[in-house]
Symmetry: D2
Subunit: 437 residues, 4 copies
């Protein structure tokens, strides 16, 4: 039996031990025999450090996998079976800029939503399309498992502009499921959450434990102070009556839309001279420590410190998805796929985040239990309007579409601010935005 070749784009990421651990855990079901970690010249040092740790992990696990570290993306892609992406165009420096520059306009700075997420999409989409161009030539049947943020937008660009088989992935849904399981003190596999929305704008619309609808219980727990958030998002508590009115479980990122004022205040304090810095700046420090750890030749497992970095469940999200495809498991995963009529009132060909059956043919969305409620649909619709325009703008370099994208982004308060933000994005990302030249 032919072994699988995996290409990990952005292999020098501090997250790499997560995904390597994922392959190790699933060794009995996934016959991987080649893993290519590929990165760019600027990331070579980190690639070597994390690559060596990965090698030690594989060795410790007693696996016969040929791990290759390379700067040659085409070599990595050639005949690959699965391509995963965890690269970050412009690195944490670019992210730090994304998080800071909107603050002066009283707009949230965040990696994936608002103007920061828009800037990231503009930088990332040309690169992913370039990867897809190579894939078409070098591994046309491979699956692209996209983890690079903003995952929904990047996946939408791939599915609209290429024929590469692609599933977009995010660890938010699995995170929510784990948090809900611990609130209920049950096994996560006994839960079914009807996830629906867009990437980083996904609701747990209803929650069942076995055949019992426990949505109200979760809402009660949240009202009683239970935590449902992620490392990079403040655990601001939801007003009790808002949760009652919503009647669903918001995702951690919903705070950016629903508690914009509180988070902006917090971000501005962090960003001040004596503040704790933006999230990217904090992560830079964590990463430095992580890479110090990774250098330790005696380390041959994923260090627990990685969890602080924020990628929890990344391995489960990504490798179990790959296994479900490879083994035609027809398991339910919450992923980013074409809407295809699931959410009414937005186009069929745009990307949503929802529950899918995943098998060898890819991800097939499950129908919702009745039409989506207007109380959340409006927000999905305007954010999707933003996303569609953002993708078009990122692909074509069209300035007018960029302005209309930002105009439709609910975090941006006016067209004046939208234009200023876009002008600043162009300046501070100059080297990464060839499409706008």
């Amino acid at each position: 039996m032919k072994g699988l070749k995996i290409a990990i784009i952005g292999g020098g990421s501090s997250y790499t031990p997560e995904i390597i651990e994922g392959f190790i855990k699933r060794k009995s079901e996934l016959p991987v025999n080649e893993i290519y970690l590929v990165d760019i010249k600027e990331g070579e040092e980190k690639l070597n450090i994390v690559g060596n740790l990965a090698r030690r992990m594989i060795k410790k696990a007693g696996l016969d996998i040929n791990l290759v570290l390379t700067l040659d993306r085409r070599e990595a892609l050639k005949n690959a079976d699965f391509v995963t992406t965890q690269f970050r165009v412009g690195g944490l420096e670019a992210r730090a800029r994304d998080e800071r520059f909107p603050l002066k306009y009283n707009v949230l700075g965040q990696e994936t939503v608002g103007p920061g997420g828009f800037a990231k999409a503009l930088r990332t989409i040309p690169v992913i399309l370039d990867i897809c161009k190579d894939m078409k030539e070098l591994c046309p049947d491979a699956w692209l498992i996209n983890f690079t943020n903003p995952s929904g937008l990047v996946t939408e660009a791939v599915t609209k502009y290429t024929n590469i088989k692609c599933i977009g992935l995010c660890n938010v849904p699995i995170h929510m499921k784990m948090d809900v399981a611990s609130m209920l003190e049950v096994e996560s596999k006994e839960l079914f959450i009807e996830f629906v929305g867009l990437n980083h704008l996904v609701w747990g619309r209803r929650v069942w434990h076995k055949d019992e609808d426990v949505t109200e219980n979760i809402i009660k727990s949240l009202q009683d102070g239970a935590s449902l958030t992620m490392k990079n998002i403040s655990d601001l508590k939801w007003p009790a009556e808002f949760l009652n009115a919503l009647g669903m479980i918001p995702c951690p990122y919903h705070r950016y839309y629903y508690m914009t004022d509180r988070l902006l205040k917090e971000e501005k304090e962090s960003a001040e001279a004596n503040g704790k810095g933006t999230r990217a700046e904090q992560v830079q420090k964590i990463e430095e420590k992580l890479f110090e750890l990774y250098k330790d030749e005696s380390l041959n497992v994923k260090p627990v410190e990685l969890e602080k970095r924020g990628g929890a469940y990344y391995s489960d999200a990504a490798v179990s998805l790959i296994s479900s495809i490879y083994n035609d498991k027809k398991e339910i995963h919450t992923v980013n796929v074409k809407n295809n009529g699931i959410i009414k009132g937005i186009p069929d060909d745009c990307i949503i985040e929802t529950n899918c059956i995943v098998g060898s043919k890819g991800a097939t969305p499950l129908s919702l239990t009745g039409e989506l409620e207007g109380k959340v649909l409006g927000l999905i619709q305007i954010v999707k309007s933003y996303e569609i325009l953002a993708v078009e703008s990122a692909v074509t370099g069209n300035r007018e579409k960029a302005i209309m994208a930002l105009t439709n982004n609910p975090l941006i308060p006016s067209i004046d601010v939208a234009i200023k933000l876009f002008d600043e994005i162009l300046v501070i990302n100059k080297e990464y935005l060839p499409q706008f030249r």
Copy 2:
């Protein structure tokens, strides 16, 4: 652990050994401890015969199930966990009439499609709604697994007019899957068929063996003479170029729509004085023999002769569905459920037949791989127009809706004939159509 109570309405049917066998096969996963076979006074003799066989089968299997034969439907329903229906209002005599009376107008006589199926819907729907009324009182949380034909129409009546949890079932899709598996000489579980359409009007839109699209192979096999039909439908071969043009796998019942002339000719020959009789008349003879067999006290398994009767895979279709619900298996079953946007251009609340994930919350349809092709959509749409009107007419006893229903049925050539057919339906089913009085 509480054992399950199963109520089988129409328990005196010759099919009962099928479903009993299903429970026996799945004894390890379904803790059934009570099965009620319920029938009406007229069916008492058959109920006793088949009930005794069922008892012997259970005993042979070494199971501890309390099997109750009863004419008291309310006793059977009380606290039931699953209710299955296999009753036939008016018995085979009514079916024989359904099959004969349209022939004089040069219209197909068939149990589930055309004017015969319409008559059957008119007889059956008031009864199923009455059962649901009892269920609401006696076992409001039970699942109704409807096998009574016309299964799509009956299920649509239940879901539109009651709150009972109901899934409509038919053995056509599983039959097609089995036939396709034997054409390809593979295990049926390695196949995925994208089934879509209405009950008895379902297409295998695409067929995958593992991750390979083998639709073309199946079409080729059918062109080379492979058989894909059921006991009650002539194995008329599809014109090769029609199959190419269709590009999908038609179901056996499609012959009524696509080969109306050939089947009508055949039916008329069978119905002639010296012919072999209509299907119901043939079945009557088979049934007589079956019940003779069933009386044999030494028989304690399902006799092979039952297969001739036509219910093959009924047990798999029904009991595996029950198990998937009970055990929250999230398996894929092809069942009759609310459309909910899956097929565009027909209402959300009407019943379609399609692939669903089945678990403790019921059946959730899978999204289609792209919008349904116009070349089959038109037929679905006009048949669904017929069905919607038929259900309304059956529930309300509205004559105008009945006439418009038949007018929309593609097997009925004119409004003159539609009116004559309806008038004759009223006459020959007089005692079974209280709603039209």
Copy 3:
């Protein structure tokens, strides 16, 4: 002020006096100064006869219009402002074949519906696309007013495959409105009929006289024997209870769908050796007489005998439409335009027949009074499925699409017959179907 140039394709038609009369009637609102009657070589003699009559009519009316008779289509199109089409590919001989050949399969033979209409679409669509190609070059801003049948299909081909501004026209709606006006003994301009459907499949969904809904009155009149038909369609009476059930006014052509059996019987009788011939054969005789009349140098008005030919109201339908465009009148006309969401459940880009506001920007459909009833929607949907496939097949010469088109046509009883009909269409129209070679 610049005068208008009108190009009439198929100018040798016996209908030409109708349209010439239309321009004469509206001389004060339409400054026509050139009319080109263009025809093909085979039609030259008729072109000269009818052209000379037209010249005498114009002279009598005292108009200063330059009437040009020509076989050079490009000369006619050059700088035209309006192009109208009344050509008939293959002439009445082809129509006669369309009407006869299906009868042997027990299928209706008709010029615009069923297999005859399909054959006509296959012959006509390549020619209209060729005309549009010339228009793009010679008069890109001209309006194409298509009267050539099957008008809906021909218009759909133009709007899907060219950028020419096109409105499809038919005299059925205006005919119905006139008949309804005479039933009610009121002025037609006081009526508003909500027309909706497809060409030759259009219903008068509701009828208002001023602000009063008089739909029931019309239904009553029809039940009492009032006539609502056209010269070429037998005035078969509608069953009273069908009209009640329908609750709308059927168009004359609905008889082909709703009374298929009666009309087929009638057609077969007419087609017999001693019968009165098919409609085309009758028309051939009428036409001969008409052209004899037209030759009379003393005739200088439209002869009353033309009405027998069947084109009543053609002039009103066509020239008043042209005037509404030219003068931006924003009048309501019932024409063939893109669906654009008016009828739900069929594609946006297909052609429907419905009420529109007509002005200088073209025809804009009026919204319906609530969603279209299922009792008629199903028939529209399956006929539209047929039409979409028919247009694709006519444009591409794709045999499979042709077979699926006929399979979806409700007048064709089986795929066997569909294939035979198509094979015969290819044979008897050999010289007119280059796309299938």
Copy 4:
């Protein structure tokens, strides 16, 4: 011929001379013989003043109209043919509160959009439903022409919860058309503007002068400083490149959504101790002066000073609409009607503002020229989500729906603020919100 009875609810409004003038202008086409001005006890003085002016205007015009001033709404409604509404629950004092209270949360205070418009909807909807209840009894066939703001929400409440024939009216579209006509220096009747959106959120999607698309010209004029606004909205100029990107004509109220920051700043300055007061406060002063003027017994025409008040074109909008209904004119008016599929992605039964043909059957929307662009659809969708929830909340007094309504309002930055705003609305409108008690 029977004369018409008009009932004007809120007849004591300073706008009354506008509508009276409208009836005088159209005396030849509208045989009005009774006008009832009805108001509440608190408005009696104003009613008498403006009523006497109205009487003098009618007398001067030489009309034989019986003008009745009354506090008895039922007397006014009895057998009315048209009912118009221009009442204001809580008067200008309530409006002043609506404009002020949001400012402390850094949220825009405005009469019809944002939290102020929401408060007004909560106060107004119970009253309009009460009027409809009376109409059902006293004049069930009368038309309700609703001018009371927020006109879209009020009309949606009427059409969803009553059977009264109702058209919602606003002078924004006619204002825009007049401004566009003066930019182009053409007659407004030669223009066609494709208006689409919601009330106070309506775009001029394309503008034609005769058959020429002049949208770009208008955009150019706006970029060159042309004015397109209304008395109550600052004439803030649109950024040139935003207009290019938008490609449509925004309505004056769009500034609240697109220039939120600039308008908020301006409002806060006006509201300061030494500022010019909120718009309501300014209007209070204007009104005082107006009523002083109205008292002048020698005044017998609409005084020019009324224009400053802001109701320009109200008479044209309202009375020409009444005439188009009464005379079945089938003119195009831009009004508030059921969506019915015109804007995709929002429900059929919600109210939109768009071009309609208006005749004796009411208002029938015109189809759009192609699907609405995503760049404006998202904003429509989220505002409509807000509106649907706002109407439900206003009718039912449901607090959770109110909170979700405000959460969906794009002018409200967070759920914390939404809850605070709602709590304050309840307090400051206590006497007007019986539904929330």
